[in-house]
């Protein structure tokens, strides 16, 4: 039995050095080199200090989203959760609550939203795409109802600095130690923990995961809660970054997050994906947009490039796979002939 497996797997391992997450990192390096030649400002600390906060929320939410898509589910309501937890944070602060407590409760709202999604998907048994389209409207609706046509803006300067300024004279925004911590945490969670192995197992085959005594439903609920919690954190950071809590914060962010995850090499069919690939994709997106803006290229071209990269992210591995199969066939033939 073991022999059969090694025979099937080994040739593929040997001839597949370029999975999509590796390609995306190579692309990122090429972009950084090419960009610095094209525009002297591009690869400077100052540019990165301005660019990094723009992708902070996407990075934060893309991490749990990666796990969620690996497990074969999806969450379209993340941007609405960002909006709702931001509104909660803002309104509670305005009512005179301690700002730490208000921020904490904002994150808690995110956790609750995630739990609602998780329970509806795993316990009630509804499709995650349909459920989260509904909660996308529901959560945004709550944010709209709570905030109406006003906005909360008078946050203390030390807090808004956290959302926007850098650490001392370095290029690293103050939010990034937190964000990097979460990236490492999710990296470990995904690739080095039992939790991660179980997630991959569920994504590859729910039936098989059940036989391996994995509690699939609870696992999925936890994944949704994680996604909600990180959206909550992103919601608070978003409010601080633009120093405004409004009902329409981060409207439409869900598609950017999903696009980032897919561009990072996560398979929409589940079971495949890496955290570093997604993190690289987020930086790639951010740098590419910054470069386009620096070169005064119309944002329309960036929109078109985003779409092209997305289709490329599924098309290129497919073509590479075809080439790979062709090569394997040839090698097998050679082996046969040699015999």
């Amino acid at each position: 039995m073991k022999n059969i497996f090694t025979k099937i797997i080994q040739p593929q391992r040997r001839f597949r050095p370029f999975t999509w997450d590796v390609i995306i990192m190579i692309l990122l390096v090429i972009l950084l080199v090419f960009g610095s030649i094209l525009n002297p400002v591009f690869l400077t600390a100052f540019n990165f200090s301005l660019m990094l906060p723009n992708i902070g929320e996407i990075l934060l939410i893309a991490m749990p989203m990666t796990l969620l898509i690996i497990a074969g589910e999806i969450d379209l309501s993340v941007a609405s959760i960002v909006g709702l937890s931001g509104v909660t944070f803002g309104l509670l602060y305005e009512r005179g609550l301690n700002i730490w407590l208000a921020a904490f409760l904002g994150v808690i709202v995110g956790v609750l939203c995630g739990a609602v999604n998780g329970i509806l998907v795993a316990r009630v048994g509804l499709g995650s795409l349909a459920v989260t389209i509904a909660t996308l409207a529901l959560f945004r609706g709550f944010a709209t109802a709570a905030m109406g046509n006003k906005s909360v803006t008078d946050f203390p300067e030390s807090w808004t600095n956290f959302g926007y300024s850098t650490i001392g004279k370095t290029f690293l925004p103050q939010t990034y130690p937190l964000i990097i911590f979460f990236i490492i945490l999710f990296g470990i969670l995904t690739h080095l923990s039992i939790f991660g192995r179980r997630t991959f197992a569920i994504g590859q085959s729910v039936e098989a995961a059940r036989f391996a005594a994995i509690s699939v439903l609870n696992h999925k609920i936890i994944l949704f809660i994680l996604t909600g919690a990180m959206s909550g954190v992103a919601g608070v950071i978003y409010v601080l970054r633009i120093s405004t809590a409004q009902y329409d914060n981060a409207m439409g962010l869900e598609l950017s997050v999903i696009a980032t995850a897919l561009l990072g090499g996560v398979s929409i069919f589940g079971g495949v994906g890496t955290i570093w690939g997604v993190a690289a994709a987020a930086v790639l997106f951010g740098s590419l947009e910054a470069l386009f803006n620096l070169q005064a290229v119309s944002p329309n071209i960036f929109t078109i490039t985003t779409g092209t990269l997305l289709i490329g992210s599924v098309m290129i591995p497919l073509l590479l796979g075809r080439i790979n199969r062709f090569r394997i066939d040839r090698i097998r033939e050679n082996e046969k002939n040699a015999k």
Binding site: A134, S298, L309
Partner: protein
Amino acid sequence: MIQKIAAFQTTNFKINAKTLLRRRESGILMVLVLVSVATTLINPRFISGYGLSDLLLNTSMVGCLAVGLTPVVIARHIDLSIASATGFSAFLTAHIIVGHGWGVVPAFFVGACVGAIIGAVNGVLVAGLRLPSLVVTLGALYIIRGIDYQFANNKQFTAEKLPTDLMHLSQDKIYGVPYLFCLVLLLALFGVWWMRFTRFGRDLYAIGSNPPAADIVGIKVFSRTFFAFVWCGTLAGIAGVMYLSIYAIVDSAAFLNQELIVVTAVVIGGVNIFGGLGTIVGALLGAVLLRVLIGALVALGVAQFWQQAINGLLLLIAIGIDRILSRRSETKIERIRDERKMEIS
């Protein structure tokens, strides 16, 4: 489990599935009537006068798109680029017909062609290369909108420039039913015939229920799926022309971010997002119900800031009911199947 039902329906739809599906659609119809009557009792203007024809006119676009999207979803795919295609077709059509001084019929022809081309590209990528439709059409959403932005470049067409007979088309009606809605009904009629009574359409149900099995039994998966995408694109193109006719204004942001509304309508209409289940009639009713709900909230004077939350809640309820109904039919089908087995043995 869902796959099992669908497979069952495709083979036995004349006997059992018909009644089951009818029940699903009559459920939506009941809710529809209930909401309409309740709203009318509180605010008679909801239906009376021009209320009803307004409602139908509002439904035309989403209805047309829902009819277009249904075969794609039944084949276990999705088209997220549908709203971008609608917007681009609206702008490009306006550009072409204004430039040539053309009227209504060429406008619809141009729109349908633009949409069909977009659908064909999606179709080749999804059906030909077998790429995941969610990723491909999400990419297409960005690409088409980007091209639209770039092409339109801050331009706008308003009633001033657009042909007047196209504007009048949205105002004309037969017995209170707007022409545009009649057009949607005609398209839906064709869709019903196609999906229900032709081999072509039944194949799509089979593909959606179990894609590998469809391959194995020799169904022409490529041509079926490809045509579903072309159909979806074409109807998106036609919806774009409707946009011109109804709103008499178009720029590059036309119908921006409306793709999920169309998916919502289809889901409310009982089309299963995992393929293999649902009907065109259901999807159309779903679109009507969605617009009626929005219209009802507005007509009842529900505070505007609450409308979206209520919409989301109602959608959740709709999905929930769908689940309960399908569970019930699952058990029923299993019972029938068991009885059959007993008979055979």
